[in-house]
Amino acid sequence: MSTQVQERESETETEETSEHQERRLSEKRERAGMRERAETDLSETDETVRIKVFRYDPEVEGKKDPRFDTFEVPFTKGMTVLDSLIYARDHFDSSLTFRHSCRQAICGSDALFVNGAQRLGCKTQMVDLEWPVRIEPLPHAEVVKDLVVDMEHFYEQMEAVEPYFQTNDLPEGEEQRQTRENREKVKMSTRCIWCSACMSSCNIAAGDNEYLGPAAINKAYRFAMDEREGEEMKEHRLNIIEQEHGVWRCQTQFSCTEVCPKDIPLTEHIQELKREAVKSNLKFW
């Protein structure tokens, strides 16, 4: 026989489930019930789902004034919001524009405003929503066209926190050591996929354009809490997030934490940085 590769991948890391994951699980269990109901309803009624999609194109007559278009999309089990958009584009209107790529909640392209909440299109099951489904571009961002918003500002904020590892003493030819606890501590913060859902949901970020925003602060947290960077660098990092439009702007609205598709406890991270900043300031008094 030619190919008898025993490809055994054990992709799951045995990690303690954090409280957030716990919460998410219980939410899932609740939703399972909701789904059953939705499905039984479905089999009896029509098999299409109506989506109302925000349309805007600065160049095209008739689309210069924003409007909503309605599409009737055949429903299939397991259909996500993104699937419905793809269907509408490929079958009804090829000019329907939205960003998407991975279809598995890892590229962060398709954060949308779905039925009044920031969600990833590819990770939102139609049956979990109320129909008709209303799909809009992310609030608090400039719309380029249809569902595409300008991400430049978000990227600028992300890049303002020196989002790269910096350390002075690296061992020659081998890795730096890091304790499991420390890796566990930064673990959630490293999961960010730059989707900008959090930023869009935060009212402070909406009002104060210079506010770093939850994602960028979380990025800063990811490095500030990484023991490999050392104490001195941590001070430097705290100075960055302490600026006028840094952590102090956060009013613990928790919207960011609610919408983050990667379940990152953003508010908690921001709060921890505030405490760290206060502590480090106290040291010098």
Binding site: G116, F254, T267, Q271, R275
Partner: protein, 130 residues
């Protein structure tokens, strides 16, 4: 270059139906905070009658207290203060990173407690007003 369509401020608060617990808590806290500082200024103004003489002071206070409206406003003030205090405590816990996962429950608890305190205090406030 394409120009972009900015949906402006309607986005901010036009969506209040969608707000989650943390957002409502933030709004209420803001509102109650403003009421309280507003009250503090008025309060000091009223009390300033004490700088004229004792009689004016007593007269003013009792005069105000005899107004039914003021009695009701006082109940309102208590409600506002109670919420601000309770949610303030919730916020302090959030700041300390304690029980962050239950922040939404804490907000509901604060609301309920505020209502309870307010209702329970009505007799005390209104006594002798009628």
């Amino acid at each position: 270059m394409s120009q972009s369509y900015d949906r402006g401020l309607i986005e901010d608060f036009g969506r209040w139906q969608e707000f989650s617990a943390g957002m409502w808590a933030w709004i209420f806290h803001k509102f109650t905070g403003w009421v309280l500082i507003g009250y503090l200024f008025t309060h000091v103004a009223v009390l300033s009658t004490a700088t004229v003489d004792g009689a004016t002071y007593t007269q003013t206070l009792q005069g105000l207290e005899s107004l039914l409206l003021v009695r009701f406003l006082e109940v309102g003030l208590l409600a506002v203060a109670a919420f601000h205090i309770l949610n303030g405590v919730r916020l302090l816990f959030v700041d300390l990173g304690v029980g962050i996962e239950s922040q939404d429950k804490a907000f509901y608890a604060a609301l309920i407690a505020t209502a309870a305190i307010t209702v329970a205090s009505i007799p005390t406030f209104l006594v002798g007003a009628f």
